[in-house]
Amino acid sequence: MGNFGQLMDGFAVALTAHHVMIMVVGVLLGLVVGVLPGLGAPNGVSLLLPLTFTMDPISAIILLTSMYWGALFGGSTTSILFNIPGEPSSVATTFDGYPMAKQGQAVRALTLAFTSAGIGALTGVIVITLLSSWVANFAMRFGAAEYFAVYFMAFASFIGMAGGSPFKTLVSMMLGFAVATVGIDTISGESRLTFEFDELIGGISFLIAVIGLFGLGELLLTMEEGLKFEGVRAKLDIRTIARTVAEVPRYWVTLVRSALIGCWMGITPGGPTAASFMSYALGRRFSKRGKNFGRGEPEGIVAPETADHSAGSCALLPMLALGIPGSATAAVMMGGLMIWGLSPGPMLFSTRPDFVWGLIASMYMGNLIAVVLVLATVPLFAVILRAPFTVVGPIITIVCVIGAYTVANHVFDIWLALGFGIVGYVFKKLDYPLAPFVLAMVLGDKAEDAFRQAMLTSDGSPAIFFANPLVATMMGLGIFLLCLPLISAVFKGGFFGRAGAGDAGAQGRSA
């Protein structure tokens, strides 16, 4: 296996004292971001990104990914202790985590969550190690049409697999595309959609959109809810932790199922949030102890946590190998790669193997560090969270405002972020998904370029998107995904809702 040797080289890059220190700092920052509601992983990474412009790309990506791991882990702490998810992806952890903590087993709940999260994350990283260079090699054969087909598939799967209204997903995504086209057109050099405003010539940075949508929007929501932390006290003792870790292998069926769901949802852009909910729902259906779900059942913690983290790490696979991020945070990181002058995608594996494999090796380390640190810092964060949100809120606001300014040193960007904040608040309340918006903003230019190049080579005939079996299959799959909501609406019973009976009926009718 060539991959193994390269992975070892990667460890040589990642295991220097400098990089391990960066991992620790990143994980700690990530924990803060994950624990505080209103400050999530996509937003945290966006805020940190401008500060990494002067670092070398390897250190910078290690810092950002470590922050991502920290944020994923930190979100579960608040879910379990305070019944308030620090991250959208840890909502499903509250269902059983908080009840178990209330029964006086807070430490058991936390340990279960972090151990299964660690297992999920490592599964994800192993999948990345095994598959990424294979996928990258495969993608070397891609031309413009194939790339457009892959983008099309990614976007179609958002629309097809979204839980809510597919039309809201469409609107959110297309608005992202529209915002991405503002500024100078890369092919013709004309300025588009600027309407003579000088501030818009440079385009709108996706970082501003993320800070507004995910940061300020989330803060407004949290303020409205009038958040009060009334938590469960947790006293850590080593013996309970050890006993719980030994208990985890008993749930291997749930672990395997959840990790599979997570990997799948991470690689296809379903994202960690969808993965954790799906894993919880399937766990409740198929587990022997499914009826205990919601009353502090261990498997009810293991299922969403494993899926959340394996999806979170797998979301980086398509970003690295194809240049298509699998989650909002991965989208932000990909934007970072482009700013550092690296172009994510298959070429990256041959031009910068040190970068790719250093990053992959750092994922193993980063997740191990995160498991240890998250347990060690539980008492600390439990104290911080007792501060009233009227104090924490304004401080997060300051961080967001400064973050918006530091993207390009423009005051105008702060106004834009405020605007995006209102949009984020309203969209969130009305169940418009925000991740497609960010994904479209980051990929907008690339998707458009691929489309225009493909159409140029074919003299404007869309037949190029069905010219060979590969591209035709991908386009066909994309179209199928687009039609999924329609199909499941026709066969009432839903796609994920009432599987089993509904599906059997559906098959009967369609046959």
Binding site: E190, L220, M223, L456
Partner: protein, 160 residues
């Protein structure tokens, strides 16, 4: 004063449809057809705009059709006041920051938030504001060397 969810759904969908309209109009300024060099720059954005309008119209349609059954409240008067009491100071913060620089803006904002919103005493609020400014100054000016907007007052005192 309650705002119903249906009202907000329709208002939002109208706003996104209007945004789609603006995108389509902006695209026509760049040309939306084909010429010798392939698609003109407005070609792609024009269809994006059309899709936005399409999605918005369907959402309006769906909302109107199920109007009788859904009677959710989007936000009531009290919550709206809470949100505005949080949001308007941020607008003020941005205005002041654009004029006098970020450090003065954040000092005033944190003082206001601690004193008025959180109800701390004046000395404690002043102290918090000072700490926040100092921490940010050290992080941005010293550690990461990313200078923030200073504004005329700080420049008068020779802080760049």
């Amino acid at each position: 004063m309650d705002i119903s969810r249906n009202t907000m759904e329709i208002a939002t969908a109208c706003a996104t449809a209007a945004a789609g309209g603006i995108v389509c109009y902006g695209a026509t300024l760049n040309g939306i057809t084909w010429n010798d060099g392939g698609p003109e720059p407005g070609y792609f954005p024009f269809y994006i705009g059309c899709l936005i309008i399409f999605g918005s119209l369907v959402t309006i349609g769906q909302t109107v059709l199920r109007r009788a059954t859904v009677s959710d409240v989007f936000i009531d008067g009290e919550r709206l006041r809470t949100v505005l009491a949080f949001f308007l100071p941020i607008v003020a913060l941005t205005l002041v920051s654009a004029w006098l620089g970020l450090y003065i803006g954040m000092a005033l904002y944190i003082f206001y938030a601690m004193r008025v919103s959180a109800g701390f005493r004046t000395p404690a609020s002043l102290f918090t504001a000072a700490v926040v400014v100092a921490v940010n100054f050290v992080i941005f000016e010293k550690i990461f060397m990313v200078p923030l907007l200073k504004g005329p007052i700080l420049e008068y005192f020779g802080i760049y």
